[in-house]
Subunit: 542 residues, 2 copies
């Protein structure tokens, strides 16, 4: 299938290396339809380590030119990527649905999120805030020594490798947050696609490749590979041109990448978002007044995308008693009505089944719903929503209950009193999110608990549920280890650009040779810190 | 010696742990006077691993309270630290001079730099820019889904361990840039002092301890230890309460710390500033017109602090010819007049002697000066300024010439033409600084070279020399690996606070429960990103 410009818009199984679509030299694989378990027709090729090295070499050369493009040129690229992704039309939606088992509505909404994100980052580029421009003008008469003119601006880090995720083939993968923020920063990107959705990845890569060409930029600023972790993946992490890595996925995967990256002759930063259990604490007055509404909203959040969300609420903590029983009853009623839904791939379905089977077999843990786990023995890779119930003592003693069971599973922990909420929280490592429900009076009374949640999580949610990660300037999607490998940065929202920048300062550099953001006249019209004051005024030379 | 408030102002050899001065349980050591090589009278005690763990535990508990102090309270602490350091008076200056061999003038100027830095960071805290506050207000009527209210602010990371450096006992050690920025961020600090200047470290720790007490803050927000690297040092890096590390020193030391930190169950960030050779490129017209002046300024920079500077200019690259001969002749004349000066300790003097002896013995390398290396066989730990000369081919082939010889040694590399400057640059890893000298016309003609320097260094200096790291908002002291372990952050200048912060976002949190920087009324009067625009206005609730 080609569009009216002759552009191919169909999967081929090839890889995008330095502007050419080539066949990988390390064998073939197929994707599966999770709703049937059957392999999909198109074969895809794996890159060899040699091909990865060629890709990195070309990207490294393209960096020199791309790093010097104007913020406006990069904003234009991001907007063009959005247009080209939309231009993929029906082909993208049907390919994605076949590879993921997601509903058409989910595919459309994820596409909308992805293109919105690209356009939002384009606006951010134009504002220039991400540059963090700072100017300290010379003080030639200062004693005991004069101060030179010193100017500071963020510059791109280098080639970024992005490892695509299973559960968001668009928003966190080929053209997702990592790619979008790295391209915005001025860094070439090499995507290693996820083998669960190679066709979706390839189509999006075609769109980005077309956008790069339309914008007249070097082809090698964007590459798309498929490959085996221990061959292409390892070669990509070890390529000397690669200066940072973006990853979303499991803790095991993130830690494996971090380890290889730390052992390089030149260690490089890894931004691994590794998920969490996203605890939800419900205070008694609120529970008493809204048990059923809370249960409905909780089950909606738990089962969104069949629970395959980094911010899926996996733990609910509330005091035992009549209102918690109503909450549990409503959860049970709701979950029993939900039929098993497809998981993204066989491994994910199997891991979910193993984790939930193990958890529900623990002494002191009971399963509320009457669903049965559906595994690969049936056609397709299905999982049924699972709600477990336990008491605080069991929760404290069972380490298995403290970790993510990726999928639609949650544990309801009954405490004796709200003072015990802190004990429950203390069992958990760093979290992407932590949620508190309460009446106004209860929240005010538990302000200390909010501070404790903020010490452990990247995002605090009050009277809501954690699913739905808003793409905006103020989002934090990250958190203390092991939620992410570096809590100082977010993976979602415009602040994510900062992961791929480093500051450079210029001492006594003549105005005509300064980077645009630092020139006296402020040609980019950005806000700068000028001798300690934020201003978009020009610098008046001495 | 006590002051009029009864405060002790003399060295005792003890350690500051959780507000008490106690004797270390892992043996004793002495410092040496580098000018005589003789041990100094005061004995100092080493902390045991147990004592380190106690210190970390107390610091971790203090974090909960200190993290919640207002920026104003922390600014007051920094100012009080400056006052208390000044209050140490003569005792500090004589102790520092005895332990370092530095002139009184150097001791006074480093003290001034240190107290200036503390006061500058106090001002930065009051401005609130480091908080990076961002607010996206709710859009309840947005389709397809409403947007919640989301607010973002930087919060302190946790306990920071600071490893003091040999060459700046004040400005980069106990109360130096790492301590100052961590305390500013809201992070408790545990300093591991440098064994070359334990008395200077202890006196400054007494001053900080007094400041913490005067400000009514928890004693355990600042601790001071001495210890052996493989016992106290390792225990400190591995303490679970420690969430980040600041280090200035050798590449070997920085990499050893990074390795231990990466292998923790919870890996933590390490900010290691590991030095560099700080290449200086001189274009021909400039050299022709100013060979002697350039040589004078270069030798001044090379021998400042007897070359014991992270930003000491260790390589000069210029075209061969008559003007370079004049430059070399002047360097030789200048250096021959400089008597050997003390190095900070025996190991540094020995390493310098070994490195320069090896370099000058290479085929193709000649030594210009007629100094002789002075090692520990004489009284004291002396080193003589050393200027070597070579051609580009030798420089390219000899890896030994590409690395820092910590001390007053430089290599002058003669090229055939300025196109070869790029070849010389290509031999070098990441640098703290890179310098270019040229006439206005030459600089304009070599704008490409400036871009290449910026791709490899944290600070670009034009027509100057790299020594003199200005403490201001726009400084970058850091650079691509191996100059520092994380090029995205600076170790000097107010942006260094960002190393010890992480963002947290608050979703639909009632105004009365939001952190101060995010409240609608903007009580801190700081600049915030409000729905995409920088403003210090209040938020008008819906």
């Amino acid at each position: 299938m080609h569009d009216d410009r002759g552009r191919i818009m169909a999967t081929t199984g090839k890889l995008l290396i330095n502007g050419s679509w080539v066949t990988g030299e390390n064998g073939y694989f197929q994707a599966y339809n999770p709703t049937t378990g059957a392999p999909l027709a198109q074969g895809y090729s794996f890159a060899s380590a040699d091909q990865v090295q060629q890709t990195a070499l070309a990207a490294g050369e393209a960096f020199n030119m791309y790093a010097r493009t104007s913020p406006r040129a990069r904003a234009e690229l991001l907007r063009t990527c959005a247009i080209e992704i939309e231009h993929l039309g029906e082909e993208l939606l049907t390919t994605m649905a076949a590879e993921t088992g997601y509903s058409r509505e989910r595919c459309e909404s994820e596409r909308a999120r992805t293109t919105y994100q690209l356009r939002l980052y384009a606006e951010t580029l134009n504002s220039g805030d991400y540059l963090d421009a700072r100017i300290c003008t010379a003080q030639p008469h200062r004693t005991p020594a004069p101060r030179p003119d010193i100017r500071y601006v963020n510059q791109p880090l280098g080639v970024v490798a992005v490892f695509a995720v299973s559960n968001f083939p668009l928003a966190y993968s080929t053209a997702g947050g990592d790619t979008c923020s790295a391209l915005a920063a001025g860094c070439p990107v090499i995507v290693k696609g996820h083998r669960s959705h190679p066709g979706t990845g390839e189509l999006v890569a075609q769109a980005i490749g077309a956008a790069v060409e339309r914008c007249g930029l070097p082809a090698a600023i964007f590459s798309f590979l498929q490959g085996e972790d221990n061959i292409a993946g390892k070669a990509l992490i070890e390529a000397p041109q690669v200066k940072a890595i973006g990853f979303t996925g499991s803790q095991k995967g993130g830690m494996a990448i971090s380890k290889i990256a730390a052992q390089r002759p030149e260690p490089i930063p890894v931004f691994a978002e590794m998920g969490s259990v996203n605890p939800v604490f419900i205070l008694p007055e609120k529970m008493n007044g809204s048990a059923e509404d809370l249960a409905d909203a909780f089950i909606d959040s738990l089962t969104l995308g069949n629970g395959q969300m980094c911010v899926c609420p996996g733990i609910v903590v509330a005091n035992k008693g009549e209102s918690l029983e109503r909450f549990k009853a409503r959860c049970t009623e709701r979950v029993n009505k939900i039929t098993a839904q497809p998981m993204l791939n066989k491994a994910t379905a199997t891991q979910f089944s193993t984790a939930t089977t193990k958890a529900q077999a623990l002494a002191g843990v009971s399963r509320l719903d009457s669903n049965t786990n559906v595994t690969e023995s049936t056609h397709g890779f299905y999982a049924a929503a699972t709600v477990l119930s336990t008491d605080l003592t069991t929760f404290v003693n069972e380490d298995d209950l403290h970790h993510e069971m990726f999928g639609p599973a949650a544990v309801i922990v009954a405490t004796e009193n709200t003072a015990q909420f802190e004990t429950a929280l203390a069992q958990l490592g760093g979290q992407l999110t932590a949620t508190l429900h309460g009446s106004d009076a209860e929240l005010e009374h538990h302000s200390e608990l909010i501070q404790q949640l903020a010490a452990k999580a990247g995002r605090i949610v009050i009277n809501g549920f954690p699913t739905g990660v808003e793409v905006c300037e103020a989002m934090v999607h990250g958190g203390p280890f092991p939620a992410s490998s570096d809590s100082r940065f977010t993976a979602v929202g415009t602040a994510s650009i900062q992961r791929f920048l480093r500051p450079v300062c210029y001492q006594n550099v003549p105005d005509n040779l300064l980077p645009e953001p630092l020139k006296n006249s402020n040609p980019l019209r950005i806000s700068r810190l000028l001798n300690g004051e934020k201003t978009s005024s020009a610098v008046k030379p001495e």
